[in-house]
Amino acid sequence: MEKQWEEMTSDEKQETLFQRWISAEGVKFASPEAERLYKERTTRFKNALQLKTLPDRIPVFLIPSLAPAYYAGLTPHDVMYNYEKITPTWKKFYMDFQPDAHGGAFVPSPGKFLEIVDFKLYKWPGHGVSKETTYQCIEGEYMKADEYDFFIHNVLYFFNNVWPSRVFGALEPLGMLPHLAGVTEMYGVSLPFIPYGTPPVQAALKALMEAGNEAVKWIGAAGAFGMEIIAEGFPAYQVGVTKAPFDVIGDTLRGTKGIMMDMYRQPDKLIAAMEVLMPTFIKLGVDSAKQYGCPLIFMPLHKGADGFLSDEQFKKFYWPTFRDIILGLVDEGVVPFIWAEGGYNSRLEVIQDLPKGKTAWLFDQTDMARAKKTIGKVACIAGNMPMDMLTVGSTQKAIDYTKRLIDVCGKDGGYILANGAFFDEVKWDNLRAIVDTVKKFGVYK
């Protein structure tokens, strides 16, 4: 009899998730050729990631932001407001460039949804920035310096009520809703429900329902991409997202300045809050991986990059809870695909303290030769194709850089060639040349 999930070791869990990914049960492929490509590609990634078997060649992955829209001659605004354009636009991008996997089509968030909820955390095309450009985050103190105790003891209430009441203008009244823990007797059962009878809360609930309808409309259109593109032989990569606790607090709760002040003024509370986040952010990754049958979970890193923290600060504040999240994911067979944005040169020695063949690290501006010699011994490394090579460099330069990456990082497997940072409008010939160069020169004999 097959082992139950709970009885498996982490190795067995990882293998099970990989096999589910490779077998693509229930998928109707467009052709036998598409099915063959799909199996080839997923196996290629698996071998690059596990560091056990040499892949047939270096996998190549392009991770666009809104590039598919620009490639199709559309603006970011077009795809954020006309959901039906998303699937054909994203599909054309992958069909034309033929990388080894796709990263989903969820970058264009639904514009109308954002308007209904009055999202304050970002400016988006046509709403604070021009229709032709990408969305941008607005940092702020969405959690105040004196709210750590409340946060630590009421983390889910904070995320469900307090935080949304601050980042979604239309949901502001949610901040006044009491939790229902006090409802234990017949006496007073209706008291916490009184706010629901007030006009502001009812307006917020109405906005939530409208927003829900819009989100359903959007997923119907954008979600079709996943089905259509897998049928063409492209596996889905990184189906869910989770983050390092330091970034969760620094990005969208306290802001960069806020968290840096907290490191001095209330370090113990900051650390306690990060510890509180761990189970939630492990579960986030594990649930997505199991639900979609893909072991890879995306983890974008921000504020632990070179320069942002000293070595001591990184080791004290950033790494411990981040590492525990990685290990929590690894225990459940998940392979965190960690995107180290910016430079990570000063962190390479610290981050190698991880089990072998369980993680992948995508680097943006890190010295790849050093990465290969350090973290590359225990993890698959990826990335580093620089933004200037994609946007202003000559095609020949992009080809030369690709060849250099193949030489420096590709030796003995354990490398995925990819861009270092999300990209929008680039030189399409360069993109094509990069993929072609990997397919030609990245083959293992």
């Binding site: 400016k123 920035v129 021009s130 450009t133 990408t134 941008q136 607005i138 940092e139 960069t256 300045k257 840096m260 002040m261 490191m263 001095y264 003024r265 320069g307 942002f308 923290l309 000293s310 600060q313 910016g342 620089p386 933004m387 200037d388 090579m389 946007t391 202003v392 460099g393 940072a421 990209f423 929008d424 409008e425 680039v426």
Partner: protein, 210 residues
Amino acid sequence: MAKDLVNTLADLKEQEVIKIVKDRLSADEDPLKIMEDARKGMEIVGKRFADSEYFIPDLVYSGEILKTVTELVKPKLATTTESKKLGKIVFGTVAGDIHDIGKDIVVFMLDVNGFEVHDLGVDVPVQKFVDKIKETGAPIVGLSGFLALAFDSMKETVDAMKAAGLRDKVKVMIGGGQMSDEIKNYTGADAYGKDAMAGVALAKKWIGAS
């Protein structure tokens, strides 16, 4: 030792700094002398940052401590005296880009190194740069950007300086997220600075102060 404002600030001991400043104010000390010590303390912070002894959180925290000191001292300041500046610099994040963390750090470092920085903020229209250069006569311009869209905004800003007949009067540096020498050539700027200290070094070189 506990009374040494310069070093206490340089060591980022917020509570001690506040106590020293309050004590000195209630002893009726010249507020300008307190501010001068605070400035010296910030100079040491800047130097430690340049030597990779301090990092961004330390810099940000020192700025907060300085703000508190200034707020304490301000009511007692009869007049403000301008210390002599090394030179003027017009600085901003280019059009379309709203990122400010990197820009603020460079502006801060230029400021503690004695430059008079005219910070235009983020998403700065091309014309605003041109107008400010004309108004201040600043010989140095700093263009910041985090996103790839800033490549073109920077190029347009440099082109506008050319069109306004200002290009040979100013030196232009770029910096931020995805910038490089390749991008420097593309935009027509004079130099790319990898970090805040590189920006300060460039500015000093350009005005002949180093």
